[in-house]
Symmetry: C3
Subunit: 141 residues, 3 copies
């Protein structure tokens, strides 16, 4: 099995922000010069997430509302004590949400096309931005 890899960065502007990175994934594949294989997209961050879903503006607002409801930021988490003492942004809520929504994204690449569903996009979930984050693209052939 041959493994090729690439990566790119994304920049968020807000604390919660959902970014469509499908175009960046496709650009990485083009850069790698691969047209067939299994593509594994991931992010090494534990306070962010990566997944696929429909990238529709109003749905993104629903998602962020739901995330804040499930794990409200700044909710007296034990993990935040040290961050607050160090005058850093608290991020326990982001770890909790990452535990719930992050998953490996696997895509089949055939003749230069990735097999996203009709409404499916590769989405990066910033949960404690603004930050610069890394997305990794690995191709198995």
């Amino acid at each position: 099995m041959d493994i090729k890899k690439s990566q790119f960065t994304v920049q968020s502007d807000r604390r919660f922000e959902i970014l469509n990175v499908s175009t960046e994934v496709e650009a990485s594949l083009e850069e790698l010069g691969v047209t067939n294989g299994l593509v594994y997209v991931s992010t090494p961050h534990t306070s962010a997430a990566l997944s696929t879903n429909e990238y529709e503006e109003k749905l993104l607002d629903d998602m962020i509302d739901k995330f804040k409801e499930i794990a409200p930021p700044d909710d007296g988490y034990y993990h935040d004590i040290d961050h607050i003492a160090a005058e850093e942004q608290p991020n326990a809520h982001a770890h909790l949400l990452s535990a719930m929504i992050k998953r490996p994204v696997l895509l089949l690449l055939e003749d230069g096309e990735i097999d996203l569903g009709t409404w499916e996009e590769v989405m990066f979930y910033e949960l404690c931005g603004p930050r610069e984050r890394t997305v990794q693209v690995t191709v198995l052939q």
Copy 2:
């Protein structure tokens, strides 16, 4: 690496419905004529989910109750505004739940047997049915 693929459809009868698709996955593998490799089972839909868990009838009721509690359907979501205006079934709750429970299912295939745990089945989660849905089976060898 050799990639073989197949797919099948499932039909749900209710808005929320959890289907055991282990038998259909096994039939796809037989059809493909493969007996060894890594099997990747997925669904391209963003308002449904695929995963593994125990397929026990009363647990399915607990799951659906919990899903409705976490992301109640028809709860005034922004994403539903256009669907309601178009007289389509609202599905924001289904996207939110898919974001939380969908994951790639990876199974080891050895001598024609997939390595599901004792209580583990491949489960398709219909979150805004009734609908016909696609499940994809990809084998890496």
Copy 3:
């Protein structure tokens, strides 16, 4: 494609317990004598979970608090009726949480090093312990 596999067990001491199994994963890879490939770490249990996140003691308490809030144990679940009748520990909450947090862990192995992020560890989530559980390590080459 060549597939090599190994497994190890973990022992939990409490009902809810999160264990860092990165060292055990690395030991399995050393035992297998592999230094390159894609590593797939999984657990066959449907009332436990496996994932990656930051293994920070106070965050583990936040996680367990949040899990108990999302799916409180012994909350009158249908699935628990038979377990209670059989004088077994009820575990519906564990299946519900597993449905939400379990995911396949995929790691790139290069020159004997797995590519965990700075704050990332492979974590086993015991949701209805104490129990002995199995973690599987599969390497694709």
